[in-house]
Structure formats: C-alpha cells, structure tokens
Point group: C2
Chain length 387, copies 2
C-alpha cells in the first residue's frame, strides 16, 4: 500500500491555512476521502482519522497520521493503514469516534474538519474539549485529483476488467440471432438484464465488483443515461453499455461502447459515425497534454457532432457534458470546466440520444501527462458486434 | 415501488417533536436513509429530499414529499421516486441541493435536519433563508428497522442469491483435491481469491452485486473477521465464507457457512459442532418471536459454546456479537442489546476463532414475527463440502 501516498501534504496545507493544530476526519468506508487518507477498507459505521501537526515522522510532512481502529477491525487496520500508527480500542471503547480523536489532542486544540462533516461530529468534538474549525475540502480534492503512479496502476487494472466485460457483452450480442423484432440468445429473448448478468459475471471473474453500475440501454432506453432496468434487445437498434466497476483497492473503471446487433445502417450508422468522430477529435485535443483547456475538448466534440449533421438542439442531441475525473469516486475532479493537468484521469464520452429511437455513447478513460495522454487500453470503434 | 413505503410517518413524528414546518435530507446514493425516503437510485453527488407539513396528499400523513431531481436524472427520478412529486431542474439549476430545497419553503421556515447532516448543508439552508434544526435520527431508524412485506420480499430474494453463491463455493471445494498441504482446483492451487471470484460470478448471474463484501478466510485468516485478501486454501483447515451482496433495490443479504475440505476431524470438528449447536440454540430462542430479549439469545449462544467445551477466554473464542439488523444497510438496527420486535430482520452468527488455527462462523438471516421467526432459506450444517 505504500505506493498509494496518503495525501498528507494537503493536510499540512489545510491546517496551515487555518492555523489548526490537527485535522480530524470521521466517516465510514463509503467515503472516498476516508479511503484516500487511510487506505483502510473499514466498516459501514464511522471511524476517526487524526492528523496531528507535531513535526511529523518524516521530513516530507508536518504531522503524524493516526487511525482510531473501529471495533473488530484492529488486525485489518494494522495491515492496511497508510499512516503512522493504529490505535486499537482501549478501555475507552465506549467512546464515539470523535471522542477517541479528541482524546488524542490537547484540550482546546484547534481542529480542522472538512465542511462536509456532520453537525454531530462537530458537536461531539466540542464535547471532547477541542475546537472544530470547518474548512473547504479543496486541498484534499486537489490531492485526490493528481494521481500517483500507484493509483494509475490501479485504474489501469480496473479498466482492463471493464474491457473484458465489454468483450463478453459483444460476444453475447454476436451469438444472438434476430427472430422477428426480438433478438434471441441461447433459446430465449435477450434482455438488458440478461446481458448485464453476463457482463457482471465476467467482471467478478476478473476480480472487480460491478458496484451496481452496469448501465445497459436498448433502443429508446439508451437515451435514459443511467438505465439499469430491464428492456428487450431488438435487432437493428442501438445497445449501449456503460461499465463502471470498482476494483479491490477502491478505484473505479469507466468504459462505454455501443453496438447495433446485425450491424448499423441508416440513422444508427450516421449517429454512430458522428459520435466516433467526436471521440477521436476529443482525444486528439486531449493529446496536447497538460495545460489543455477543457473548453477546447468540449468544442472539438461539438464541432465533430455538427460536422456529422447533429449540430442543432433537436434530437438526437448530446444531453450531458464531455466527461469527468475518475478515482476513488466514479465522478470526481476534474471536470471539463478548467485546465487539465498532469495526473488527471478523465473520461471522454461524447454521445447522441433520441428518446424515440436510441442513443450512442462512446467513452474512453485517459491519463493526462506532460506530453499528451495515455489511453487506458484499446477497443475498436465498430457498431457491429463480433465474437 | 409502491410496496416499499417511504417511512413518511416517521417524518411527521420527527417534525412534530421539534415543531418544524418541514424536513430536508441532502445526501447521495450511498446514504441508506436517502434511499429509504426516496427509493431513488441517484448519482454519487448529493441531492435533496423535502417533506413539507401541509396536510399531505393522503389521510395517512401530514406532509408532501418532493424530490429535487439532480441534473441528468430527471427521467429516472420520475420513474423511481416513492413520494409525491419530482421537481426537475429549472432556471435555478446552478443552485446547490440545499438552495433548491430552501426555495420550496417559506422564508424563515423551521426545517428539521438529521444531526448527521453536514455542516455545509446547515450553512447553505441558512443562506437559503430557512432555519435548520438538527434532530436525532432515531424515528427514521425505527422506521427503517420495521420491515414491510415488500422489504421482506427483497431481503428474501437477495438471501436466495447468497445461497446460490454458497452452493457454488461448496461445489468448487468438493471438486478440489488435496495435493500435499495444498488444495488444487482445475489444475492450480485454490486460493481464497479464486474462490471469491467463483462466488461473485454466481452472485452476478443471480442479479445481485457482491458489493466488495465477499469475505473468505482459510485456516488462520478465518480469525480475521473481514478478510478479503488472498490466502491458500489447505486441506483439513476451515474455509469460512461470509457473503453479503446487495440486491437491485438496495437491500443486502448476509449468510455465512464454514467448510473443511475433505471433512472435519479433531479440533475443526469440535469447533464446528459447538458453533452449530450455538446457532440452533439461538434460533430456538429467537423463535419465541416478538418480545424476545436479545440478551436471552446471547446467553443461549454462550451456553452452547461452553457446553461444547469453549467457554473460557482462551482461543478459540467468539470475538464479536451475536448479530445485527440488515436492510438498506448491511449493519443497522436492531442489535441484540434490547428487545426484538415484529418486523426486525436480523442475522444470528455465532463463531469461534483461533488466530493460530482457524475459525468457524455459521450465520442465518431471520425475520422476527409475532409468532416466531421466518428463517430465510435452509442450508444444511455440515462442514464437508458436497458437489
């Protein structure tokens, strides 16, 4: 885990800005910031991370990082925690996580707490004799945004699993046969739910969790951006698969392709080609590397869609932004509103949707570097599913 | 979704107790209370639920429930929301979720907010011209605790999938062969990670997500209560599988069995028998139904373990409580500290662990009724894996 840095420099900054003596974060396993700071996959109840400004155990930082291990998790905390020490539960075990954190600090200590922290957490810290000061989480979000080599390794590995899931979906679609206006697979009509189970089983075999995120639309439901319901897959219509699993260290993948069983013609072909052109154009702009403006990427997408004949406000149209950062949260900084920097890992995902007919989205995940981008894995752009 | 009641009666109570005009909850998809109140599977960014005390659309409750749909989620919100109306994003779309909620309410309205809400949420509600009042979440937790028939259906279905996963694990173990001190499956050593992937692929085929929760220990790692790492599976040692997937409506299953490849003998047999006796004894006490004291269940577990020869503090010993409630969170009310009531869905999970040798845990999930319990599915108690 040592290759996943804890982002403690951000805490030095954050404490310095507010003249705080310490930083405390109380959250459960579902909180990406808690995972970022601790690398500990704890329980679904809150536990405390404490960073005390005391000169620190290394020259690189000002503080000492402590995890107050939740009950029943001592061994796992000792194994996983990225900081300096794990405090197992002592005779004070009846204390709240905030009470345990406050007990480590001097009476009256000024304690920086993210302004997303619960009102209950602030009250309990005060009860514990310290003074909570709410701070903007921006420094921590900036640290999460800039991926280290270890984090990039994790993201690359999860994205590899998404491609395996996509190949499975493509193989099922290729092995299905049209029967009137339905598509049949292994003797029964193919539905988005059957297809999802095939994809998710493949993700599981690759060692990642589908995380309830496998979006599959067919025809009109492709225009419903987060469709996880059941629909019939029909020949000649778009089938959109957006796969976003979570790897064992908590990092997400995110990958979208669209297929047309039997191959695309007419409207579906035109829409597919426009979106594929938009993806290639956006990747071309992103390949300028660190310093590229998100707005330039957005403009490239819009221009390519317009060049393909889809430039007006009528359907099919693009109903979402060009992409988002990915890390310990599926959606995190940066967006495409500012300048991209080295270490950003972002999706680029143009799409066109008509709620009456269908939709196409094509999404890749890339790392922005000083020189250009690293595209996480290649997967061809062809609407016809192949085995 | 109408069979999943929204728990709005709890909000009437909560507002009444604090003389509030409304209740507001701002949280993302990861928050079980947000899912309970809305039944909407939203994005991983916060959105607002508003309950206004205005006499309500029905005789059963005092208020009107509104979901302020997050951007890009209008259609899905309209399809899923269990309350009265969905407000799509209007020209005020730049507003924060709290700002959108406050805009629905009269200036100066008293707004009840759970005390777990973020400090940022309280500040933004104040900026929006209303007066936030933090309240204890107990009434909502009580409502979540008492499962409706629709909720029980979901829990039963997820638990069915856990059994399919367990059967797969058992089949893999049965098909494995001892080769010296390792167990081999399909030509390679069997590890906890290989076994987990088999289980998780089966869960996916059953339409549920492993949620990163599939705990599998082998020998000593069985004593690490939440082991999700890699270990070698060895003949004659305990293999503990604790499977807790999440179904499509957000409800969890929770199920544990322990096997000994080749069959249990000696220490493993003695420990298994004691834990199996403890499970049966605890189920017997639980079967008194609503009104049974949790302490009586705990006592039955302790007595059975002591009768099996494992009554002292030395290893192997039980290092955790007898169980917990399960619902939209994997761990929720009730625990075994008080009286069990009709509608409680709880695990009962005795275990004995020795970090030097191994561990056995056996866990069932039950619904407490007025008359007794409904045990969710039968699965035999036998340490020898069968195909």
């Amino acid at each position: 885990m040592t290759d996943l840095a804890g982002g403690y420099g951000a805490l030095d900054l954050l404490c310095g800005e507010t003249d705080a003596d310490a930083f405390v974060h109380v959250a459960d396993r579902g909180d990406p910031t808690q995972l970022f700071l601790t690398r500990f996959h704890g329980p679904d109840r809150p536990y405390a991370f404490v960073y005390e400004l005391d000169g620190g155990p290394t020259d690189d930082r000002e503080g000492t990082a402590t995890l107050c291990a939740p009950a029943l998790f001592d061994e796992q905390a000792a194994r996983e925690f990225a900081g300096d020490r794990v405090l197992a539960l002592g005779p004070d075990s009846a204390r709240t996580p905030e009470g345990r954190a406050a007990a480590l600090l001097d009476d009256g200590a000024r304690v920086a707490v993210l302004d997303t922290a619960g009102a209950r957490t602030l009250a309990r810290l005060e009860d514990g004799g310290v003074e909570p000061i709410t701070v903007d989480p921006a420094p921590v979000e900036r640290a999460r945004r800039r991926k280290t080599a270890g984090e990039v390794d994790r993201l690359r590995a999860v994205q590899r699993a998404t491609r395996a899931g996509m190949r499975r979906a493509e193989a099922v679609l290729a092995a299905s046969a049209a029967d009137g206006d339905t598509l049949r697979y292994e003797g029964a009509p193919l539905t988005t739910e059957r297809l999802r189970r095939e994809v998710n089983a493949t993700l599981a075999r690759e060692g990642v969790s589908d995380a309830g995120n496998t979006v599959i639309g067919a025809g009109p439901t492709c225009a419903d951006l987060h469709f996880v319901g059941e629909d019939t897959v029909r020949p000649g219509e778009t089938v959109l698969l957006d796969i976003s699993p979570r790897g064992p260290d908590g990092y997400y993948g995110d990958f979208t392709r669209t297929f047309v069983p039997g191959g695309a013609a007419g409207w579906e072909r035109d829409v597919y080609d426009a979106v594929a052109d938009a993806l290639e154009a956006a990747l071309g702009v992103l390949d300028r590397g660190a310093g590229v403006e998100g707005a330039a990427v957005s403009a490239a997408v819009e221009e390519a869609l317009a060049a393909g004949g889809f430039g007006d406000a009528a359907a099919p149209r693009m109903t979402h932004g060009p992409g988002h950062g990915v890390g310990l949260a599926l959606h995190e900084a940066p967006g495409y509103g500012g300048t991209l920097r080295a270490g950003d890992v972002v999706t680029i995902e143009p799409g066109l949707y008509d709620p009456a007919r269908g939709g196409v989205r094509l999404e890749d995940l890339v790392l922005v570097t000083e020189e250009g981008i690293e595209r996480f894995g290649a997967y061809r752009l062809d609407p016809k599913p192949r085995a």
